[in-house]
Symmetry: C2
Subunit: 248 residues, 2 copies
DNA sequence: CGACCTGTTGAAATATATCAAACATGGTGG
DNA sequence: CCACCATGTTTGATATATTTCAACAGGTCG
């Protein structure tokens, strides 16, 4: 089912590119320019087509990746073919940093994207020489843990509508944090992608989008644009404020 | 609904106690004795009754806790009263370590338990003086992230039976890692507790236990003992190996 | 144009929740 | 010691949210 699997072509990367892509979030955000230069000197940049794999579940975890542009998803494949998404990641996020010998899940680009690839051992030696990086990794890990726990709450206790509402608002604020303010969410994901993230089928996701649209809470623009027109109503759902009837 | 809420009585703690409780897992596992002594000198020990709160969701996050004995659960309460458990924690685990100003969820003892309480700022200053602690925190955070992602997978894609099976095996191996080998799991949690962890109702958890018992996969001993009699069968479910009929 | 993919909507099937009742268990106090 | 109560468990009947199966519509692309 995965259309494109070959590895991206590689190229050298400048510190500028790293700085520019990951100014406000991610590993590089708080690092000194000289340190960034050091990171960049070891990294290789590559561009990804939509749906292209960054790494596969089960591959030896020899590299870490910084997503410098675009969006990606992390997915786990079950033996019987079911697939679940562990999360979506945006520009600046670190991918594939694991203590395990193999990646416990795969990563693939959602839309067009680009990554900086760094050898795991070269990150390790960088850490050894510059403890500030370790501190930064701990912060990132804690952020990721917190968002995973939120996701857990959603899958464990939220209805389909609540999950979609929570996702839309989370994605909107993640996009805002990366500089693009405004109510239009750029979401290069199919209904199926969202279903895998939210523990729903693609049909259920579609029905929820339709319901939100009918209530005037969202508007769709093209294939990837989702305009949030009533963040308050969505927020009420996303916070889990009532179990029963959805008031007008 | 929470029966006991007052804070535990505090007392001094020895490094020995920390070492002993958390020898193989947790924050203290790989630390030098002198460092442990340092940690211990700042910590206060307290005993907890079953169901006693360690900290509440929304409390200022001024302390971190090391669970030195017993089991605890972390729960998030939704505005409308629904409750979800983020996870269970066992002896040696670190609780309440968050970058946020307030605890994002509450922690309470499942059975009788004890914790070592440490001021957050004193942990911070310890980190500043001994970077090895930071490394250890990163490892712990990554472990916690990995187990949370497993849990996410379970809630997103697993059936009720698969969730319970996966939980039982995870709990068994967590117990084994803490020294108590063997097939009998000591589980001081009600069906309701498990339901909150697994995103199910207590009745569904009970029905799954009954089904496993009828198939001879488990046996119950008293109110907390669960004997795993067919780990292979449970493992097959827990890995998500088939979607449809459960073969005899 | 036709094949293909994504999205939408409908009708039926189903896993789990909800509601309800009985049953066990352990503690407590008469 | 036993009656009593609170708490947790089990099981049943019913309801319901979501899945599953299916058909169709709108793009896109070769």
């Amino acid at each position: 089912m995965q259309s494109v699997r070959e590895r991206p072509a590689l190229g050298r990367v400048s510190a500028d590119c790293l700085v520019c892509a990951a100014r406000l979030v991610g590993l590089c955000a708080p690092l000194d320019p000289p340190l960034l230069e050091l990171l960049a000197s070891d990294a290789q940049r590559s561009s990804l087509l939509p749906r292209q794999a960054i790494f596969l579940q089960g591959d030896p975890a020899r590299h870490v990746f910084i997503l410098s542009a675009g969006a990606a998803r992390l997915t786990r494949l079950l033996p019987d073919g079911r697939r679940a998404a562990v999360g979506f990641r945006l520009a600046g996020d670190l991918l594939g940093f694991t203590p395990l010998p193999e990646y416990p899940f795969g990563a693939e680009a959602l839309g067009p994207a680009s990554v900086c690839r760094l050898e795991r051992h070269s990150l390790d030696s960088l850490i050894a020489r510059h403890p500030v990086i370790e501190r930064r990794l701990l912060d990132l890990c804690m952020d990721e843990l917190a968002s995973t726990q939120e996701q857990l709450l959603a899958l464990g206790r939220f209805t389909a509508e609540e999950r979609v509402a929570a996702f839309l608002l989370t994605a909107l604020s993640a996009q805002a944090r990366r500089g693009r303010a405004g109510a239009i969410l750029d979401l290069p994901a199919t209904r199926g992608d969202l279903g895998e993230l939210l523990g729903l089928t693609l049909e259920t996701v579609s029905r929820v989008f339709s319901a939100f649209r009918r209530r005037g809470w969202i508007r769709l623009h093209g294939s990837t644009g989702v305009e949030i027109r009533d963040a308050a109503a969505l927020g009420c759902l996303a916070r889990g404020e009532e179990r029963a009837g959805t008031a007008a």
